[in-house]
Symmetry: C2
Subunit: 323 residues, 2 copies
């Protein structure tokens, strides 16, 4: 039997990552092209199609072995017809991505939200270790979330499931969030949130090592906080305790509802590793039901930048196996 191959596409505002991935999740070839956002992003689908064609020529693969294309895209997406309501970074508004790319390539195309696709990738071939019930949280500039239940992405009533970054952590007087609310988890436990909290407290902690790190720099980063904390700086450690309190409480409360087997933490902040996981698990143990706690493993995401293309390929295989 001929091996089936999916094209996984991770569509970002700067770069389009792509890969040929087999049914076992092996990346046969991976590459990327710049994202052309001129003309309201109208060239993007053509570029993807042309790049796949070129790459097929460069490899031993035939077009007949390609099952189709899975895409993780930013923005609000109609998951049934692959229609992008709005993707600000790409210039798209009311754009029929699935139809357009199917017309260009002659291949079936399936589209989902990029945070969901990353969760699917980590579940399939990454730290999720094929856990059927998994919550993936990406701590970057913002907070992305994806929930996998019984091996499938949870979408919810109108595609908003997994918006873990907008769980309200501070009910009164919290920092404003891009979503329009205040006190969201994203304002606390994202890289941006961590740097903000650390910076706001600096004037009360003039003696802290973190204050000295700022010297001559324009601003602190989340990485500065973890470095100073590792060196024993008390204020940096207090910031990490605060972050982990809110993040651990949010995960525990969601887990009391969902009873996942795996929590995967990704994004730039997750590079802190055990400095983050250890206090986080302590908070989780305090607020999760004992039997929920027992069932749940924590792990740092392991696929890095490949999570998107691997997850997008899995999306394609999941969808075509249903036909």
């Amino acid at each position: 039997m001929k091996e089936k191959i999916a094209v996984g596409v991770d569509l970002g505002g700067t770069t389009i990552k792509m890969a040929f991935v087999d049914e076992s999740g092996n990346m046969i070839e991976k590459w990327h092209i710049p994202t052309d956002i001129t003309d309201g992003g109208r060239n993007i689908a053509n570029h993807i199609g042309a790049s796949i064609k070129d790459k097929l020529k460069d490899t031993d693969l035939e077009i007949s072995s390609i099952e189709g294309i899975g895409i993780g895209a930013p923005g609000f997406i109609n998951l049934e017809n692959g229609f992008i309501y709005k993707a600000v970074n790409l210039g798209w508004e009311n754009y029929p991505l699935k139809d357009d790319l199917e017309g260009i390539t002659g291949l079936p195309v399936f589209v989902d939200n990029d945070a969901n696709i990353a969760a699917l990738g980590e579940m399939w071939k990454g730290a999720g270790n094929q856990a059927a019930n998994l919550i993936c949280i990406t701590l970057g500039t913002g907070i992305g979330g994806g929930i996998i239940l019984d091996g499938e992405i949870l979408h919810g009533a109108n595609g908003m499931a997994g918006e873990i970054g907008h769980i309200t952590s501070i009910t009164s007087g919290g920092a404003p969030c891009n979503c329009g609310k205040t006190g969201c988890l994203e304002t606390i436990a994202s890289a941006t949130g961590i740097a903000r909290i650390a910076t706001e407290g600096l004037s009360d902690h003039p003696e802290s090592a973190l204050h000295q790190r700022l010297d001559g720099k324009e601003r602190l980063t989340a990485e500065d906080v973890f470095i100073s904390a590792a060196d024993g700086d008390e204020w940096s450690n207090e910031v990490i305790r605060t972050i982990c309190h809110h993040l651990g409480l949010a995960i525990a409360n969601l887990s009391n509802g969902l009873n996942p087997s795996k929590i995967v933490i990704g994004g730039g902040v997750s590079k802190a590793g055990d400095q983050l996981l250890k206090p986080l698990k302590e908070v989780f143990a305090q607020f999760a039901l004992p039997r929920v706690y027992e069932a749940t493993d924590f792990a740092i995401a392991s696929l890095g930048n490949d999570a998107g293309v691997v997850g997008a390929a899995k999306l394609l295989f999941n969808q075509t196996s249903k036909k």
Copy 2:
């Protein structure tokens, strides 16, 4: 084609409710028998079997039209083999309910947790109105919860999904909960929790109408609080605002993760109707993402004591349709 009938069984510590239910969800016959918890509950399965046999004789139904038996049971259940690890109210410990009842009746038997079954019933024929994504919260002596996603009960990694009553609402200094934690939603928004909070504040509100209601009674109930609040008692209204703050926040945060289309509130406390729903929805609007808020309807459970038998019948039909 012959009509298919399920026996729905709602197994409680005092009463076993049963019904013949057709595939459209109509109850052809419903009845109940007392629960015999003597001898460690060893007669229960025999009683259920005998009662079904007797009732078939009383009706026009033939045994051949019965597809099988669905049961909602209390306690910790192994959902794959219908094995009850422990059901304190029934005296069961490590009891093979499914195997036993299949042996007695010769019918296929499927077992699930009673709170999940009530949610399934409300989704199918009650206030859930067949919403594919639904959260059902029962505010009674404790708080029960059931989550339906894509029309199926969510069980999670080890059957603990839906434990909404044990979401932590007060992170420090909360009241002790039966689960061993403190500050659980159940300690606040259950009938017991509402009465406790109202009573604890009475000494600070000696002028309140609620204080006068207590006169001569042994203790206040949640119903007292809603009655006094309707009469304009300020302390009672403050208690309801507190309850709704914590309940609304918990539901909003869970909904930011799950993006449900329907929230169904049941149990004795839900008899308060709009007195509960109106402030609850205001808190939900504050803490849910705007697009999550738009997608979510609230409703008071409508099946009352029938939710269990109807949901149990649905469990049976769902399972047998998969074969």
